[in-house]
Symmetry: C2
Subunit: 356 residues, 2 copies
DNA sequence: CTGTTAGCGCTTTCAC
DNA sequence: GTGAAAGCGCTAACAG
């Protein structure tokens, strides 16, 4: 094979040498400071042309070292394969880049130990700020991390009592909407398959579940609140258990999109059908939600907005070097009604329906 | 609020000063070269303890500048919200990290101009290597990029005639499997909704489509090969058009998962049902594929393997500073048969069935 | 309008 | 066994 010898300059020094001028001038022109330093247009043009001709790209690592800022953001997500998070990641990357920042992306694998390591890794790599979708219930490692003074913004969850700005869905309100709809459709025996207990996302959704029940004079049966993980498997197992009860629920409120996929699998296997035999509402809408066996009624989270605001807040934080630590933004989700909920008109009849 | 004064060392110099030894020694210990330089165990321990106590984390930017390697990889993906790519991204990030590399993630938004800029950006950020899932038909920008000497590996597609290692699905074989199954099920009027024309992924799949038809003595009707984009919208539009033909196909082969979602939407709207009125097979399996209105028969790509091998090849490339540019790995996909294809037993009857 | 030079934090050669 | 000092490529303070 035959290779062309390209004109190349690997650094400012070489470029300056070729042009017979100083590195300072080259640096200034390249950073758009020609005007500020009253560099002659001739020199300016010369530099720009040479940079192009010699295929010169500045070394951002060196720049980062000198400036003590890397124009890089860190993003830590529990599971990028989860479409909820991948949508968010997309917007975060786009918004970051739009503002001149690159993104170091890390998947914490839903593991708090990994998350802790990742935080340190990003610090070590001198990112200018971090967007974190935290995992687990503990926040000790976050308190520790705070001391390092790196701007940090939390999304998806929030940690009460910890001074870190957060942007989340208003999970309580979403749960209330879903439950009111279920109750209005005549359901009284409603199961709630929850995710990881003890974290805000889950707490808030369960609280919404309970409050609507109570407000409507329906006794809360704790045995109908089950599960402990946002994954598919948990949805599957809990549904199998729920459906084998003597008094199975007439509706299931699945607290995540992955859980709802598990619910679907279990219901499928049991030979039951939605919504005739069992109704279901799921948290978090997905592109495929409307193409499911029965188009799923979901609580749609404002993913794009969360991501946009997170980047904006983080960038302000970085620029000002500080932020009101009480910054906490909760965005309202939206109930999307499709066909996974059956309207039960005759409550008496339904209460007496033979157990499967 | 009350803040503890933490012991802190922001760099090696400070740490060395505190310990009353030289930065050289500190650096050596911290890099596990204590033995090599026969540093006394006492000194070694002292350094390690101090590093922990003073919460010292090395500045990887400075290290990168000095070593001329950043232990950072770049990943460029056309659309991280596409579950096919998000699965791949997950594995790539995991594998990279396992080998001590971080990942700068970039979404090219399916835009070749953006892709070009991103390549330069990553070069400027001195990543040690790049995994690219390319966009568009042109590869001029890749040829240009090659000259910069940064290890680059391509996934998902391959660019014939361009000396860059690639790891892809064997798209031809996947298409053949799907088509053979469709034909064996009695289908003769099979539409093919393709993605972006002219790129290898699409070419190979369409070639499989044609070959199977020909091999089975079924004339290829070019008007049944439509579409020009891997997105949902294209699937929708083409299906609407196809189904309004005088002689609508009895089966649709959708060349991507997003296309198949569009097919579903169109079929839904038309009031038709799968597989009774129309059969469909889609490229690329998804977690939800089996929960769709009719569980979808799909060609499952070995996403995890592609990602793993890509990282492995790239790392070898980086370590050796070179690679056999003819490295091209094609992984066999697997046909997953579910319930979206109808078995047409009486061909005669089917050929005469009234047009809807 | 342009240039000299110090120094960001690290690793490593060379010296003892 | 340990250390002094050069230098990675860049920016900016200071100097003209």
């Amino acid at each position: 094979m035959y290779l062309f010898m390209e004109k190349k300059a690997k650094n400012i020094k070489e470029l300056a040498a070729v042009l017979g001028i100083s590195v300072t001038t080259v640096s200034r022109v390249l950073n758009g400071k020609a005007d500020k330093y009253r560099i002659s247009p001739a020199t300016g043009k010369k530099v720009l042309d040479a940079a192009r001709e010699f295929n010169y790209y500045p070394n951002r690592i060196a720049r980062g070292l000198r400036l003590e800022k890397t124009e890089t953001l860190g993003l830590i997500i529990p599971d990028i394969a989860n479409p909820f998070f991948s949508s968010i990641a997309k917007t975060i990357e786009f918004e970051s880049r739009r503002h001149g920042y690159s993104l170091i992306f890390c998947d914490s694998l839903d593991d708090i130990q990994t998350e802790t390591e990742l935080l340190n890794l990003l610090a070590s790599r001198k990112v200018d700020g971090i967007v974190l979708a935290p995992v687990g219930q503990s926040n000790k490692h976050l308190m520790d991390f705070l001391k390092r003074g790196i701007p940090l913004v939390i999304i998806d969850r929030h940690m009460p009592g910890i001074p870190i700005p957060y942007i989340t869905t208003d999970n309580y309100s979403g749960a209330v909407d879903a439950m009111e709809y279920l109750v209005a459709s005549g359901h009284r025996t409603i199961a709630c398959i929850q995710g990881l207990r003890g974290i805000s996302v889950n707490n808030d959704r369960v609280r919404g579940y309970r409050d609507v029940l109570i407000r409507n004079g329906i006794p809360v049966d704790n045995s109908l609140i089950s599960g402990d993980d946002f994954g598919e498997e948990n949805g599957y197992i809990q549904t199998r258990i729920l459906m084998s009860r003597e008094d199975p629920p007439t509706a299931i409120f699945a607290l995540s999109n992955l859980i709802s996929l598990g619910v679907l699998r279990a219901i499928n296997e049991t030979g039951l059908s939605i919504p005739d035999d069992i109704s279901v509402v799921a948290f978090d809408d997905q592109p495929y939600s409307s193409f499911l066996a029965s188009p799923m009624t979901t609580v749609d989270q404002p993913k794009e907005e969360i991501a946009k605001i997170a980047v904006k807040v983080l960038l302000d934080y970085i620029r000002n070097g500080s932020i009101d630590m009480d910054t906490g933004i909760m965005l309202k989700p939206k109930l999307i009604i499709r066909k996974s909920v059956k309207r039960i008109t005759d409550r008496h009849d339904q209460a007496q329906r033979p157990h499967v």
